[in-house]
């Protein structure tokens, strides 16, 4: 394992510290316990947005703290959910009197830890709602499983709910628009090469030189099936079809499309995937109204990409386009 790190146990702390130094105009980093809040938190009268999860998915979540997006991010250990004693102070720190929304990715660990924190916050008199992002179509959704994982759709939920909070929507309205995004967003990813968790020291899974993993999760969990290597157009088709099928996308639909890099794939490859995804959507009569291409929710240095598609309505477009000023997403300001 070769990494630009010092002590594997200090990776998250040192990295978030560096992040705080680099973006001091946007955020304040609290170190004990570890969480990141918007510089001007709490914003009085505004609904506070908190998200978090295992580290290793940068820029998620700290990169999305700032005006028009999150009020706080809570980084856990690498690929490990944060604990309630981090989530709770983050929640109270961003409560401007209008309540707080927890944006939780649907993993057992995230769900349980945010649940506990929400109970504790409620006990302290903070009104907390939660939404559960579960956009990964690679996972069978069933009453008898942990359900679908939250992946790329999280970025859209954070942005659009963040925009709604910024314009002054109340907790119920912000929760509702977050849920509307969740209901209309789907993702799927593929890995060409695994990543290595610093404290584990070995790759999270093994892939032969001619294999790829379809339906990969962002924690380096193995995906749903393993296939022989294909070209970019083939992989893009495999990722997009379950999404369009699940969303029932058809002629006249407008979408927000993200081609997300898993961390170790060059930008040039993501644009090749984007090119094909746009063509496939066009064939179905679907218009790509807005897009993101880049590393937005990663799995350390994993090679591969994921597609995320959100079926848009007018309000979502307005919210998406409104000003946002975070380390990783910035426009209109």
């Amino acid at each position: 394992m070769k990494k630009l790190i010092n002590d594997p146990k200090a990776v998250v702390n040192e990295s978030v510290e560096g992040f705080g130094l680099a973006h001091a105009e946007l955020v304040t980093v609290h170190t004990d316990p570890l969480f990141v809040v918007r510089k001007d938190a709490p914003v009085q009268g505004k609904v506070g947005l908190v998200s978090g999860g295992g580290s290793g998915h940068e820029p998620l979540h700290a990169g999305y703290v700032g005006r028009g997006m999150l009020d706080a991010a809570v980084p856990g250990a690498v690929f490990t959910s944060p604990t309630p004693d981090q989530i709770l102070p983050a929640t109270t720190a961003v409560n401007g009197g209008a309540g707080v929304l927890h944006i939780v990715k649907n993993y057992t660990g995230d769900v349980l830890n945010f649940e506990t924190a929400a109970e504790l916050a409620a006990a302290e008199g903070v009104e907390v709602r939660s939404v559960l992002v579960n956009d990964d179509v690679a996972v069978e959704d069933s009453l008898y499983t942990a359900g679908r994982r939250g992946v790329g759709g999280t970025v859209f939920v954070e942005r659009i709910a963040g925009a709604a909070a910024e314009r002054g929507d109340d907790l119920e309205a912000v929760t509702a628009v977050a849920q509307r995004v969740i209901d209309n967003v789907r993702s799927m990813g593929a890995a060409l090469a695994p990543s290595t968790v610093p404290h584990a020291g070995v790759p999270s899974f093994d892939l032969a030189e001619d294999e790829i993993e379809i339906g990969i999760g962002i924690h380096g969990e193995p995906g749903r099936h393993r296939i022989a290597m294909e070209n970019a157009d083939g992989i893009t088709t495999r990722l997009l079809e379950p999404i369009t099928g699940d969303l029932n996308l058809g002629s006249g639909d407008r979408v927000l499309l993200m081609v997300n890099g898993m961390g170790g794939s060059p930008a040039s490859e993501l644009y090749i995937v984007y090119r094909k995804a746009v063509a496939l959507l066009k064939e179905r009569g679907v218009t790509v109204e807005r897009s993101l291409v880049g590393n937005y929710i990663t799995a350390l240095e994993m090679e591969g990409a994921s597609l995320t598609v959100l079926k848009l309505d007018d309000e979502m477009i307005t919210l998406w386009d409104s000003p946002v000023s975070t380390a990783a997403l910035r426009w209109g300001v």
Binding site: P33, A77, P84, T108, G109, A146, A200, H219
Partner: protein, 213 residues
């Protein structure tokens, strides 16, 4: 040996050693069907528990010790296992009340409360390939041993042995809860890391009671 506050301390210290020694095994198991962090999570948590016990004042009851451990695990482990073990130990502590030491029936009640706490939080059923598949046979074996008149330490030993067998029995199962469930059929043929850590922890409880099982 009496299952008093000293035993509870010793339990957690022994568990911490066992988890540290088996850190890589737990990582490997979680790497196969999860995200390769269970060993690290548990090791971080139990090391923090030991630090807390070292720093804190001596507790009067086993419940006090377990409650401290529960809060520490909850705030240091993270992941799915942190809240689950945290809840388990919290419920175990509550079940023990302010007794100075635990009698055989109280041990059964304590294990049963711990298991129920995990189910309440995680909603797993037997056969879902989770730590529950170690806890439930442990509770049953403890109950059987206690009603056969075994001493408290022997009750723990019975629980530990059953947990170990339960962990082994997760091998062929298809996961339906937790991260391994994303793998579907591909999760079969691997042992559940949480079931293995449960077996380690219960073995530590028996060992601390002078009954290595």
């Amino acid at each position: 040996m009496a299952l008093d506050a000293g035993w509870a301390q010793e339990w957690l210290r022994t568990a911490a050693r066992a988890v540290a020694e088996n850190r890589m095994q737990l990582m490997e198991l979680d790497r196969a069907i999860g995200d390769a962090d269970h060993g690290e999570n548990m090791d971080r948590g139990f090391a923090a528990v030991v630090a807390k016990l070292d720093a804190g004042p001596a507790a009067a009851t086993p419940a006090e010790v377990l409650k401290t451990a529960a809060m520490t695990l909850m705030s240091t482990v993270g992941g799915a296992s942190g809240p689950l073990y945290g809840t388990a130990l919290l419920r175990a502590a509550t079940s023990l009340g302010d007794a100075a030491e635990a009698q055989p029936d109280a041990v059964v009640a304590m294990l049963s409360a711990a298991r129920d706490g995990i189910v309440a939080r995680g909603k797993a059923e037997s056969g879902d390939k989770t730590m529950i598949d170690a806890w439930t046979p442990a509770v049953e074996a403890a109950a059987t041993a206690a009603s056969a008149g075994a001493a408290a330490g022997a009750v723990l030993a019975a629980a530990a042995n059953a947990a170990q067998a339960g962990a082994v029995a997760t091998d062929p199962l298809v996961a339906r809860k937790g991260r391994a469930s994303y793998l579907g059929e591909r999760s079969a043929g691997h042992r559940d890391p949480g079931a293995v850590s449960t077996a380690l922890i219960l073995a530590a409880a028996a060992e601390a009671a002078g009954e290595p099982g």
